[in-house]
């Protein structure tokens, strides 16, 4: 199967073979045909194709309007969009939810990273792991679980409020802009946390000591030294959270769409539904892509200006701050986050999945495994979805790691002058919302036999998430340095032997981590799938969307099965203790 994909990939994306003419051409061909040049080269070209085609397809489609089969070149799609009041309201809600979620997750992420890295709060090492759990869980499942917790009049928390505190039963309303912000913040806090925990741990404690010794009190020190040093990492984290959370499709679909509130991703989704308007959807896609490119360039400029972004360190151990009685406040914040981000959603999911009829309160007497029995053994859609997701995740992660390794090899060891530019271009999909990328792939491949197969989903996933694998592996290759390979070559090993005996064993942790990372993402991804699935190619997340309209219990059972897969991957991930997260 892998080779079939390889063939397909090369048929679609490999450049036309250069016409070999004369001895110069032959020499060029000989040089390029060595595996050392050609394999990474093919991977990079594949990556470029995966970036370029959805871009081009979206741009071209946005400039075509009129009835299907009679398309003409015009800017009417953009004109129609700019006159559409719903577009502006979706844009407003997207920006508001994105910004608010970013601010909240920066608050949580900063506080939690500081608590774990720098204070004597009890249980820090446990929280270091627990804080990351939401990173691996599905935001869609999180949103669904929070509807069980905080749906007006039916949510578990609302029931608690009305039963025991005689408050209103619609005390919390998760079906709102606030609900979207809340769930996004919970799930994106680990991103900020991950960006900050490294610099916080690696910071040379003498930088802070020097401030104290030379007259600064604690407040002064934080304001003039600690905070400015952490700022680049915080801003990088904030940017990623904003771009990703604003572009996320699943959470608004679960929490805002039921109240007819739309964000840009859900608007694109509804435009592609019957009666579909691909032109207008593509117009939105072009604008989102433009914004992404702008952000990517802005970030590059910012980081190149502030070169101290990475506070270098040689394994310093910053001094822990004795919080005294404030330790308990820190502990309370940690517990609050872990409870809201992990414990409560999981509890709700378990209760609902075990209940034959969910009424907003667990009825322990009538709990059974019937829902699991149904989705695992009897329900065709659910069973198919599980199978499809597993196939895509295993195959996709494998192809992704393969391409990612070859691309990193080019980016870290290649000779081309284009390497840094190539790095930026290949990373672009990281900022593009899944649904926008899915739209581009759909437009590009809708008339090919790939449409309505698992392949189209696989291609979209790899196009969207390959840069993650490349980045992780690249960081490890960079850390490794070229000396080890050169000494193997000097000892007489060929390139292939060097890669097999030296490079691959040494970067294995990064490879395992990248594989697990892609596996996790592919198991849960919804945004990139929702426009591309067809009858027979549903994934677990798609099945949950379809079932959501019918049966709570089945959705919860399916969600729990998916969560178990993610948790298993997470545990393997912690075992491998890799550095991919820190990169």
């Amino acid at each position: 199967m892998k080779s079939a994909q390889g063939l397909q990939a090369s048929r679609h994306f490999a450049p036309a073979a250069p016409s070999v003419s004369g001895s110069r051409g032959r020499a060029w061909a000989q040089r390029v045909l060595t595996p050392q040049i050609s394999l990474p080269g093919i991977a990079v070209l594949t990556g470029l194709a995966l970036v370029a085609t959805p871009f081009i397809a979206t741009v071209v489609r946005s400039a075509l309007s009129g009835p299907e089969g009679d398309l003409v070149l015009s800017l009417r799609n953009f004109a129609a969009l700019f006159q559409d009041q719903r577009f502006y309201s979706a844009l407003g809600i997207t920006v508001v939810t994105g910004l608010a979620a970013t601010i909240l997750s920066c608050f949580f992420g900063l506080a939690l990273a500081w608590i774990v890295a720098r204070t004597d709060t009890p249980g820090r090492s446990w929280f270091d792991t627990l804080n990351l759990v939401p990173f691996f869980l599905s935001p869609f499942v999180g949103a669904v679980s929070w509807t069980y917790l905080a749906a007006p009049n039916a949510g578990l928390l609302n029931t608690v409020v009305s039963r025991y505190f005689s408050g209103p039963a619609d005390f919390l309303n998760i079906f709102s802009v606030g609900g979207v912000i809340w769930v996004l913040a919970l799930f994106y806090t680990p991103y900020v946390y991950l960006f900050l925990i490294g610099p916080m741990r690696r910071m040379d404690p003498a930088l802070e000591d020097a401030a104290r010794v030379h007259g600064a009190g604690f407040g002064h020190m934080v304001r003039h030294v600690t905070a400015p040093l952490m700022l680049p990492a915080l801003l990088s984290g904030a940017l990623i959270v904003f771009v990703t959370s604003a572009g996320l499709f699943d959470v608004p679909l679960a929490l805002a769409s039921p109240r007819a509130i739309n964000t840009i991703p859900t608007t694109v989704y509804s435009m592609v539904q019957y009666p579909s308007d691909y032109g207008k959807a593509a117009a939105i896609g072009v604008m989102v892509m433009a914004v992404t490119v702008f952000f990517a360039l802005a970030q590059r400029a910012y980081l190149s200006r502030r070169s101290y972004a990475t506070v270098t360190g040689k394994g310093y151990r910053p001094r822990t701050i004795q919080l005294g009685r404030w330790r308990y406040a820190a502990l309370a914040l940690e517990l609050f986050y872990v409870t809201c981000g992990v414990v409560l959603p999981m509890l709700a999911l378990i209760f609902v999945s075990l209940s034959t009829l969910w009424t907003g309160w667990p009825d322990f007497a009538r709990m059974s495994l019937a829902n699991f029995d149904h989705v695992l053994f009897n329900h065709d859609l659910a069973r198919r979805a599980l199978k499809n997701s597993l196939i895509i995740a295993v195959l996709g992660a494998t192809i992704g790691v393969l391409l990612g390794t070859l691309q990193s090899y080019y980016l870290q060891r290649g000779r081309g002058r284009l390497r840094t530019a190539m790095d930026s271009v290949l990373s672009l999909p990281l900022g593009i919302p899944g649904i926008i990328l899915g739209l581009g792939i759909l437009i590009f491949l809708i008339r090919t036999p790939l449409y309505a197969t698992l392949w189209i989903i696989l291609i979209a996933y790899i196009a969207r998430f390959l840069p993650l694998a490349t980045r992780g592996i690249s960081a490890m290759l960079l850390a490794l340095g070229g000396d080890l390979e050169e000494s193997a070559r000097a000892s007489g090993a060929s390139w292939a032997q060097t890669v097999r005996v030296i490079v691959l064993p040494l970067i294995k942790p990064a490879l395992v981590a990248a594989w697990l990372m892609l596996f996790v993402i592919f198991i849960r991804e919804l945004g990139a799938t929702i426009l591309l699935y067809a009858q027979g190619t549903e994934t677990i997340s798609v099945a949950m969307v379809i079932l959501g309209e019918q049966n709570f219990g089945h959705v919860a059972a399916l969600a729990l099965v998916q969560t178990l897969m993610l948790v298993a991957a997470f545990m393997l991930f912690r075992l491998t203790r890799s550095s991919i997260l820190e990169s």
Binding site: D209, R212, V213, G215, H220
Partner: protein, 393 residues
């Protein structure tokens, strides 16, 4: 050993007083009662191998570490006293400090780094500018104020750290192995510059280092530390010539150290007492005992001398050419340009020696050598001595 034995001490109270500092980390004792004094305008070095507690002492003076017991006084301020529960915050101790890693803030310019202590003290901007310019000129960085601190070489960052520690004219300047991250050539240069700066500004300083040359070059008094204890304290020349314990001797380059016992003891009337020590294989060496109680025949001792004190060749110079004269064979030699290190075997002793670079010292060659009695130091081997020392501190 205590500060009381330190030479050159007046009756006036010392400017800095450290007394009975104790501190443990995770159950292991880092400081087991450290005391010393620093006179106004002088520099005291804390010298010792890594892990001896010297940095912990310095950080305790700076207020970055809290000892479990003891007291620290700077000028007329008691900054730490475990009994009276005094523990002044670091920023209120009015010291300057140069860190091993420089700790130059990467997000500030050179001038912002150096001006920080003044800005914190709310000095007027114009005055900050003038004083920063002055101190930058002093450390040889004139005109670099606007540079981002990350755009500097290691040596320049070192100067920024130094300027920052001096700009607010602190009562006491603390140095935490400031030269250890520099390469050898730059280190020598900075050492000289630091010395000149000290002479010119006359600040009071505590200087932590593991490098004996640095300690000898830069300080008025050297405190040698080992395992959280003060092993010895003396002025550089005194310390270098007559270390008081085997540890200090070893640390200061007495690389030949042998166990033996006194085989002949001379008149104990006036110090030093001439003694003869017999080492393991019957090799006899003459030396002098400079301790208190005269040594008796049969007393267990250690005898130490530097490889540089070994006189190679048959025609040894000196008044007592026949004394401490031996014959051995060269076991190994390492050519190092102007001189060569060699290992000479005599009986079952191995003696380290340094010979001139141009002499031929082939392995296996027979060779005569001698050591002057006054270049040898005798220590009493007595486990109870260590305990004595602890109580003294």
């Amino acid at each position: 050993m205590s500060a009381r034995d330190a030479p050159g001490r007046d009756d006036a109270p010392a400017f800095v007083e450290v007394a009975g500092l104790r501190k443990s980390f995770d159950g292991t004792m880092a400081l087991q009662g450290v005391s010393f004094e620093v006179a106004l305008g002088t520099t005291v070095s804390l010298l010792g191998p890594s892990g001896c507690g010297k940095t912990t002492v310095l950080r305790s003076i700076a207020g970055l570490e809290t000892p479990e017991a003891g007291r620290i006084r700077i000028g007329d301020t008691m900054v730490f006293d475990s009994r009276r529960r005094v523990n002044l915050a670091s920023e209120k101790r009015q010291v300057g400090m140069v860190f091993q890693s420089y700790a130059v803030w990467p997000h500030m310019t050179v001038a912002e780094n150096v001006g920080f202590p003044l800005k914190i003290r709310r000095v007027a901007a114009a005055e900050i500018g003038a004083r920063v310019a002055d101190v930058l000129a002093l450390v040889g960085l004139e005109g670099l104020g606007r540079r981002p601190a990350t755009n500097l070489s290691g040596g320049q960052q070192q100067r920024v750290a130094l300027a920052r520690a001096l700009v607010h004219e602190p009562r006491l300047v603390l140095f935490d192995e400031p030269l250890s991250n520099l390469d050898a050539k730059l280190r020598d240069q900075m050492r000289t510059e630091l010395k000149l700066l000290q002479d010119r500004l006359g600040f009071t300083a505590v200087y932590v280092t593991h490098d004996q040359e640095e300690a000898l070059a830069l300080s008025d008094n050297v405190v040698v530390m080992n395992h959280g204890l003060v092993e010895g304290m003396a002025a550089p020349r005194e310390l270098f010539a007559r270390p008081t314990t085997p540890f200090v001797a070893n640390f200061l380059g007495f690389d030949n150290m042998f166990q033996g016992e006194v085989s002949d003891a001379g008149e104990a009337g006036g110090a030093p007492q001439p003694v003869e020590v017999t080492l393991g294989d019957g090799v006899r060496l003459r030396s002098y005992w400079r301790g208190g109680e005269p040594l008796r025949k049969g007393a267990p001792v250690m005898l130490a001398f530097r490889s540089e004190s070994v006189n190679l060749g048959s025609g040894a110079s000196g008044s007592d050419a026949s004394v401490n004269r031996f014959e051995g064979s060269v076991e190994a030699s390492v050519y190092l340009g102007t001189y060569q290190d060699c290992l000479i075997r005599t009986g079952d002793l191995r003696v380290r020696a340094v010979g001139p670079g141009d002499s031929v010292l082939e392995p296996g060659a027979r060779i005569h050598f001698c050591v002057r009695p006054e270049d040898c130091i005798v220590f009493v081997r007595d486990p109870s001595r260590e305990t004595q020392e602890r109580e003294d501190v």
